[in-house]
Assembly symmetry: C2
Homo-oligomer: 215 residues x 2
């Protein structure tokens, strides 16, 4: 059985949990608390698994896989059914571009380590830190919403009526946005996709509050 090193609130780990659930791949859950003990991801034991000191890590036999984008692609290649990627090359590029917009343009700016640097090194106030958070989420989601509308490929999900890797990345980002009280009034297409995803067991059981380490 594969083993997932995860933190309930990590949105990158949440993506991998959704993909594992959706594909029906059973996994053992190993909790890495990102705040306790000065951050368990910085322990020698965890750094031996991943020098990046980041979750998620997927352990598959002797192999240690890192980076949520790479892990989801790996799951697609090793457990192709049910698929999270369409067959058409243009549609595949579209799906990957949505996942990538979230993973590269929105999420990295609001990582724990970035927020910490703002407060501890640059001395910004809590208010400024929260404004930073909301700025990047709201701007990023607005740009994504505009793309979804312009491309006109969405249905119940980001690409028509089948779940893809795009949805796997959208849902955890919306979860974070809600937790941080970001405005979501301007992104009705993303919220429609989010609602449809949250009707599905794979997404429901992957959510932060359903994890063994939830607080």
């Amino acid at each position: 059985m594969v083993k997932l090193y995860s933190y309930f609130r990590s949105s990158a780990a949440y993506r991998v949990r959704i993909a594992l659930n959706y594909k029906g791949v059973p996994y053992e859950y190993a909790a890495i608390h990102l705040l306790k003990d000065g951050g368990q991801q910085f322990s020698e034991a965890f750094r031996a698994l991943n020098a990046d000191a980041l979750v998620p890590v997927l352990e598959d036999e002797a192999h240690l896989l890192t980076q949520s984008l790479a892990i989801v692609e790996y799951l697609e290649e090793t457990a192709p059914d049910p698929p999270l990627m369409p067959r058409d090359v243009i549609e595949r590029a579209y799906v990957r571009s949505i996942a990538s917009a979230i993973a590269c343009d929105i999420h990295p700016l609001n990582n724990l380590r970035v927020l910490r640097y703002l407060v501890r090194t640059l001395g910004v106030s809590d208010e400024q830190k929260n404004a930073w958070y909301r700025h990047w989420v709201e701007q990023g989601l607005a740009a994504l919403e505009a793309r979804l509308v312009a491309e006109d490929r969405s249905g119940r999900f980001a690409l028509g009526d089948a779940v893809t890797m795009a949805d796997v990345f959208v849902v955890p980002q919306i979860f974070n946005a809600q937790r941080m009280d970001c405005s979501l009034d301007e992104v009705p297409t993303l919220m429609r996709i989010f609602s449809h995803c949250m009707e599905l067991p794979a997404f429901i059981s992957a959510q932060p509050s359903s994890q063994p380490d939830a607080e």
Copy 2:
């Protein structure tokens, strides 16, 4: 012929230029100046191509492709020879995780729009801005170096002696690091890979100084 909307200094565009060159895909170069005219990426004409207002955009017939990770995967699927991805699934995950570590963990923190927010909205000094830049690059590259050493898969390039998507992402990041005077003494494996890549025409002709819009 495909058309690439690019800015000579954009490292995301640089990745796509390398991939196009490496695969021998001829392309038309459309320069989008990220600083002139308040940023040409914000023009109505460009936003009609990409609501994200980011380069690169690859135009292939009627299709507009965005996000460098998605574009390189698309090129791999549509112009598979010579390959930028290995065949083995574990090696593929390794290659993607390196590309992703750069695209998701290092580069986004040093984008123009992020540096502007630090200065204009948070009022940090130029010195603090440069320290921020170097902090994320040096920390990110050190983590990547540690992974390359631990995985022990590199040779002339990030995976053995053949160029992959990992190298396509490493080189532009090292270029940026050099331009910003980041310390690179602690990443000898990455620098060895960089040197070997910079012997190849695909990488040389994709570099910022060789672009039609270079300054």
